[in-house]
């Protein structure tokens, strides 16, 4: 019987299935960070349970860590307790940890692939919704709650109900200035923030095939913003090339066996999808969000929408609430929106290719005088690579702050936050109320668009920067 990529990975990990379809799924890779794990380890201790396969888990502190000088440790008491707790738990249960001052430390979804811990065809989970990122390599990857983290630690499995199959085809080729961030914003804007609920989305089509693996990660990363359980992209030669010689990639004979397995990971040509959406790349422009949901997107050349034109009453109410929170008026030009801060980083856009693209546009220019801007590399290794290429100097010379790696202002758990009414062009993934700081106003953009906004001091069109 023909199968989708999701069907294949699912079937390959089925430990047990009840009559009603409730399944016990094997977990090959478990990523752990300091925020969603303390209660899980505590649960194990209370019940006297062990971690079943410590080697299949990798831990890193990322959400709470300061992005400024770390030599004096973490000053925020509660953050310090969480990071210390992770360290102690990893020691007690024998789990590999990349600690705060380890060169390999970074955002959990960036270090997984970077180390080759993430691999095609695996089931990967983490107590973080952006685990969807790893789907870019053809792994079934999704976020779980802390009780489920505990379940995985104790049993190396997870209780799951199978989702339905959804395919999004992005056809044609991307116009100039349009990146994978715009593609995923377009998809979310098209299907809505709950458009993927109950599904696993496979991204396919010419545009997806032509993207680099890092660009694909941006797409899968934000699948959760469309409500889907996971996003998937079939591995190809680029994927295989990416994993060659990574520290935790298979070696020798195992590499050959693994590659043979990875090459079988694709949806059969006659596989059935429960839902399918086609997007023509030529209709995608550089996008920004204007509201407080990732589906609130507009082309940079467009206007803030008028809620009065919205027919759905609940949606209209939500739009008014968003505009009030964002301090925007209906029908104003998007390019007339003035920004205060620029944030380049996060698991969505904190990789070396993102920084290269931004630096290329920024080279020899300065940020607007009334804007403050920061770059937070996704990992210590991304930071090191960028510094070797002189990218840090381009940013610093332009007026950006060059920081230490972590989640930073994507969610503002550390000191990196917006003040009330401060407006930020951000390469992160969520523009929810209060996400980057109470009262803070977030506009989601691509790294190139963040640079354009930094230079102009307004939301601006990356195509006008040269």
């Amino acid at each position: 019987m023909s199968k989708t990529l999701y069907d294949k990975i699912w079937d390959d990990h089925l430990v047990h299935e009840d009559n009603d379809g409730t399944a016990l799924l094997y977990v090959d890779r478990h990523l752990v960070h300091e925020v969603t794990s303390p209660q899980a380890f505590e649960g194990l201790r209370i019940q006297g349970r062990q971690v079943r396969k410590p080697k299949l888990t990798l831990a890193v502190p990322d959400h709470n860590v300061p992005t400024t000088d770390r030599s004096k440790g973490i000053s925020d008491k509660q953050s310090k307790i969480q990071v210390d707790t992770l360290r102690n738990n990893c020691k007690e249960f024998g789990i590999n940890l990349f600690d705060v001052n380890d060169k390999r430390q970074g955002i959990v979804h960036i270090i997984g692939p970077e180390q080759g811990f993430t691999q095609p065809g695996t089931v990967i989970v983490c107590g973080d919704s952006h685990t969807a990122t790893h789907g870019a390599f053809g792994s079934l990857a999704f976020g779980i709650g802390t009780s489920e983290v505990e379940h995985v630690l104790a049993t190396q499995t997870l209780i799951q109900k199978k989702s339905k199959n959804f395919r999004v085809n992005v056809n044609g080729s991307l116009p100039a200035g349009v990146t994978s961030k715009d593609v995923i914003l377009k998809i979310i804007g098209t299907i809505g923030t709950a458009g993927g609920t109950g599904y696993v989305i496979e991204f396919a089509g010419e545009v997806i095939r032509n993207l680099s693996v890092e660009q694909r990660m941006t797409i899968c990363n934000m699948t959760i913003e469309a409500g889907a359980r996971a996003g998937l992209i079939a591995p190809d030669d680029k994927t295989i090339e990416y994993f060659k010689d990574r520290p935790m990639s298979p070696k020798g004979e195992n590499w050959t066996k693994a590659v043979a397995h990875w090459k079988k990971l694709f949806s059969d040509s006659d596989a059935k999808f429960d839902k399918e959406v086609n997007i023509d790349a030529k209709n995608i422009e550089p996008l920004v969000t204007w509201g407080t949901s990732p589906q609130d997107v507009s082309p940079i050349t467009g206007e803030v929408p008028d809620p009065e034109k919205e027919k759905d009453k609940d949606r209209r109410t939500a739009m008014y609430r968003s505009l009030e929170y964002m301090g925007l008026k209906p029908k104003m030009k998007i390019s007339d929106i003035k920004v205060d801060k620029i944030f380049i980083g996060s698991c969505t856009n904190g990789r070396i290719e993102d920084l290269r693209l931004a630096a290329k546009l920024l080279k020899g220019k300065k940020i607007a005088s009334d804007v403050s801007a920061m770059v937070v590399p996704g990992s210590g290794l991304v930071k090191k690579q960028a510094e070797e290429e002189g990218i840090d100097k381009v940013f610093k010379n332009a007026g950006f702050e060059w920081r230490e790696p972590g989640c930073s202002m994507c969610l503002g758990m550390n000191e990196d936050q917006l003040s009330s009414k401060e407006r930020c062009a951000s390469t992160s993934n969520r523009n929810f109320e209060g996400r980057q700081g109470r009262g803070g106003r977030t506009h989601l953009v691509s790294p190139g668009m963040a640079v354009a906004a930094a230079i102009k001091g307004y939301l601006a069109d990356v195509r006008e920067i040269n």
Binding site: V15, D18, D20, T22, L24, Y26, D28, V35, T36, P38, Q39, E42, G43, Q47, R49, R52, L56, D76, I81, Q82, Q119, T122, G127, S129, T131, F142, I144, G145, T146, S147, H151, A154, T155, Q156, T157, K161, T193, A194, T197, I224, G227, P250, N254, W255, K257, A258, H261, S293, D314, T317, A318, R321, M413, S420, R430, F432, E433, G434, R435, R438
Partner: protein, 198 residues
């Protein structure tokens, strides 16, 4: 985990769609290493002003809603992050049942690990139930019968049998899965042969 069988309460209605996990419990409260104590910070930015004072017009700040055990909300409730702090905060506040036209996937699953019943019903029915919230009248949820009773009317709702059983009996998932260790070992042995690189 506490069992969920029947629940009677005046419902609190928050008529917003896409209530996300950052709204339910903002980031500054995720620094805890405990499961308890989050109730006072539930819906923090809607509930308190910037000086930390209660905002009078927010429904949960007013009696009898400050004691509501049932929450009515717009569609796509719980979207956003995987933080289980969201259901922990609801539970700690006293809410054991959330009724919405739809839920985000991870939040929905998290509820069942915390003895919270998420009920999916259509928007029209939410509207009907919201009148009970306005009139400060109780409604009753009966999980075994899969009904919501209000006035002399009743609404039925769907729920997966396995999830229903877990709530009714307050079962520990991990304990149940550990009984399947022989299956897990068999799977691992076979995987070691077919996928030795894992």
């Amino acid at each position: 985990m506490e069992k969920f069988v029947k629940l009677k309460s005046i419902p609190a209605h928050i008529p917003l769609m896409n209530i996300d996990t950052d709204m339910i419990i903002p980031k500054q409260f995720l620094k805890t290493i405990k499961r308890t104590g989050l109730g006072k910070s539930l819906f923090y930015e809607m509930r308190y002003d910037e000086s930390g004072k209660l905002i009078d017009k927010f429904i949960l700040n007013n009696d009898p809603y400050s004691k509501s055990k049932i929450l009515l909300a717009g569609k796509n409730f719980g979207c956003g992050s995987s933080r289980e702090h969201a259901p922990w905060a609801l539970l700690d506040f006293g809410i054991r049942c959330v009724i919405s036209p739809s839920f985000a996937d991870i939040f929905y699953n998290n509820c069942f690990n915390n003895g919270i019943l998420p009920i999916i019903i259509d928007e029209k029915s939410i509207q009907e139930l919201s009148e009970y919230s306005e009139r400060k009248e109780e409604i009753e949820v009966d999980l075994n019968e899969q009904v919501i009773l209000y006035g002399n009317k009743k609404l039925t709702f769907d729920i997966e049998p396995a999830k229903k059983k877990r709530l009714l009996e307050g079962l520990d998932n991990i304990g149940l899965s550990l009984k399947k260790i022989p299956n897990i070992e068999k799977f691992e042995n076979s995987m070691n042969k077919t996928k030795p690189w894992i």
